[in-house]
């Protein structure tokens, strides 16, 4: 924790202008990732996980606008940097693996060429050597017969192989920060395990910081050292993985864990989360966006959110959190 983090996001706010009004998609989002560390951003759909990544990468939809905050990467604030400054960093120092490899790859360019493009642009590789190195990259991500596969188009490959190509593209310039946005949704569990192993191993090898975005709490737990839980554009809890599972402090986190099928022995034991995400266009959004669904709501919840930090950097944004490492109710301790 002493060295400077690879990326530190502070107070990030993002708005989207829509016909129905202004959507406050992110509000005061803060987290940081150390060098060589893997953290996971977890939340239901609509919680702002991907928007966070897009804002950091500077690839927000034109309707979106960063209204506040900083994202410090090295000495550079990614949110106020000029497009040319970002273009230098993006792809070289920060890379991203996108959700759907089939749509993220260029459909009319052989995959080997797509990797070579990145190598030429960001990897300081001369044009005549790029293709050979692209083949090596394909071999490194575990594609059999890489020479032949380098000439293949994305539609000729399976979902798992396309995802490997995406990983090869992302890692081509040996970035120091990797953002993986649901890299395994739509893949089979067996393929998912292999792909996640690959990302983990390569991250370790290159000493990369990794931000892993997922809605699967169990997968996040298995693959990251730290979990950042998001709900409706807020970071509600940020803690080491083991602590989050054993002693969740934010009511939303504990309900999310109790709703994961893996946590119960029978369907009747599985708890659902009442209510749904609030409409983020509302002008009268309460300071705690979870308060309308929250079973632990008290009067003080109408005050601006607190950020309390306890030992080992367990951050929770709640006025009435669950007790720290104390009496747990049966639903929370069920494994």
């Amino acid at each position: 924790m002493i060295s400077a983090p690879a990326l530190s996001v502070e107070g990030l706010c993002v708005e989207f202008r829509t016909r129905g009004g202004i959507v406050r998609a992110l509000d005061n989002v803060s987290f940081s990732v150390e060098k060589g560390e893997t953290i996971a951003l977890v939340g239901e759909s609509g919680s702002g996980k991907s928007v966070t990544a897009y804002a950091v990468m500077g690839i927000l939809d034109p309707a979106g606008r960063v209204t506040g905050g900083r994202a410090m990467f090295g000495g550079l604030d990614l949110l106020s940097a000029t497009p040319s400054q970002i273009a230098e960093v993006r792809g070289r120092d920060i890379a991203m693996i996108f959700q759907n490899p089939r749509t993220a790859l260029n459909p009319i360019r052989p995959v080997g060429r797509q990797i070579a493009d990145v190598l030429i642009r960001h990897g300081n590789v001369p044009r005549n050597k790029a293709q050979a190195q692209a083949v090596e990259m394909l071999r490194a991500v575990g594609i059999t017969d890489p020479v032949r596969r380098a000439k293949a188009y994305p539609f000729e490959m399976s979902g798992g192989m396309c995802q490997r190509v995406m990983i090869a593209i992302a890692l081509a310039a040996k970035p120091s920060l990797l953002i993986a946005d649901e890299p395994t949704t739509g893949l089979d569990v067996t393929t998912q395990a292999v792909i996640m192993d690959l990302v983990n191993d390569l991250a370790k090898e290159l000493g990369m910081a990794t931000i892993f975005i997922t809605h699967d709490l169990a997968l996040a737990g298995q693959r990251s050292a730290r979990i950042v839980v998001m709900h409706a554009g807020h970071v509600v809890e940020n803690a080491p993985t083991r602590e989050i599972f054993e002693h969740p402090r934010h009511p939303y986190t504990s309900e999310l864990i109790a709703a994961t099928p893996d946590s119960a022995a029978s369907l009747d034991e599985l708890a659902s989360i009442p209510g749904s995400l609030p409409d983020l266009r509302r002008a009268d959004l309460p300071p705690c966006r979870y308060s309308e669904r929250c079973p632990r709501k008290i009067d003080v919840c109408a005050q601006p959110l607190p950020q309390s930090t306890s030992g080992s950097g367990h951050i929770v944004a709640c006025w009435n959190p669950l007790p720290e490492k104390a009496l747990l109710t049966p639903t929370e301790s069920a494994a």
Binding site: H215, G221, F245, E255, S272, A335
Partner: protein, 344 residues
């Protein structure tokens, strides 16, 4: 227990003409007729039963033939061979186009993966639920309206949402519409094709609990297709594991997931991320599945990816053998049996 659906040696093949030019195809035709065309063995010699009131899970990776199997069972596709019996009635003989107007059509219904995409976007929730009732039960007017409202409330869909179109509904509400339209005609067997795949965990729980409650209320049987093993474990009594068109393992869900006998099931179970990871070294599958086009009938379908892969696997296809309540298609199943016995 009475058997509701009896599937015997069902297979489904699709012609795979691709890859051959017209001239090559013509030559093939001259030399031996269309039978020589390569075929995709989507479903290959599959047999199982579903009892009345039972929930059977069907798991396997994409491309293993789950959907083809389900589509032949629901009679949306015609079988290549084998028999499908619903009660005493043989269903496989009728072409699927004729079956659409059959009196037994209402007895097998299906809930599709994403109701947002499987329901006609120009149909309101009411239209979507009433359509099967109109066609199969010939309900009209007031009786139709009453029936739709009853089913909607059984599925927890507020009546004021019935006038909405799919895009105006949330994911959970759409799932409820999909379930309501399937159970409206009172089926005996409900086939669910990943009904919760598009939903968040918090909504998924509610839908799964709804399904369980509906089953208790109406005594339907479920065939639940999913690749989420933790969901299958919670909902299903029995589970079938499919790999490249074949059933490789079946048995009581809890047992299969605790002590998988087939190496593929072992890898599948090991690949599921767990909330409380025990840190045990996990089995990983390497490589891609074999091609389903004209597979060698004497080679185990899992050969090449299997961590064992002995000479025997290359020369004889393992048959599905029974061990008590369980069935496994592996030459080496016996080696894992002692674990099961000592555990039970």
């Amino acid at each position: 227990m009475t058997v509701l659906l009896d599937v015997e040696q069902v297979s489904k093949q699709f012609p795979a003409g691709g890859g051959l030019g017209p001239l090559a195809r013509f030559k093939r035709r001259l030399s031996g007729g269309p039978n020589l065309l390569p075929k995709v063995y989507a479903v290959d010699d599959v047999s199982f039963v579903i009892n009345k009131g039972e929930t059977v899970g069907l798991v396997g990776e994409s491309g293993c033939g789950k959907s083809s199997l389900v589509r032949t069972l629901t009679r949306l596709l015609d079988v290549t061979g084998g028999s499908i019996k619903l009660g005493d009635r043989e269903l496989s003989l009728k072409p699927s186009r004729v079956f659409a107007r059959d009196r037994d059509r209402a007895r097998i219904q299906m809930v599709f993966q994403d109701a947002g995409e499987s329901v006609n976007p120009r149909f309101t929730a009411f239209d979507a639920i009433s359509d099967p009732l109109r066609r199969l039960r010939k309900l009209r007017g007031k009786t139709l309206k009453e029936r739709v409202e009853t089913v909607a409330s059984q599925c927890g869909l507020p009546l004021q949402l019935l006038t909405r179109f799919p895009h105006q509904l949330s994911g959970g509400q759409r799932a409820r519409v999909g379930i309501a339209r399937a159970i409206a005609v009172g089926p005996d067997l409900l086939v669910l094709d990943e009904p919760t795949a598009a939903l968040d965990v918090s909504v998924q729980v509610v839908i799964l609990q709804l399904l369980q409650q509906l089953k208790r209320e109406f005594g339907m049987s479920y065939l639940f297709v999913s690749h989420d093993l933790s969901v299958v474990r919670l909902l299903c009594d029995r589970v079938l594991v499919m790999y490249l068109g074949k059933i490789v393992e079946s048995g009581p869900a809890a047992e299969v997931f605790q002590h998988p006998l087939h190496p593929y099931t072992q890898a599948l179970v090991a690949a599921v991320p767990r909330l409380h990871d025990d840190g045990v070294e996990r089995l990983r599958l390497s490589g891609e599945p074999r091609s389903p086009i004209d597979p060698d009938p004497n080679v185990c379908r899992f050969y090449g990816r299997c961590p064992r892969g002995t000479e025997a696997c290359k020369t004889t296809m393992p048959a599905l053998r029974s061990f008590g309540a369980r069935q496994v298609a592996c030459h080496f199943a016996e080696e894992f049996l002692p674990q099961v016995k000592s555990a039970s």
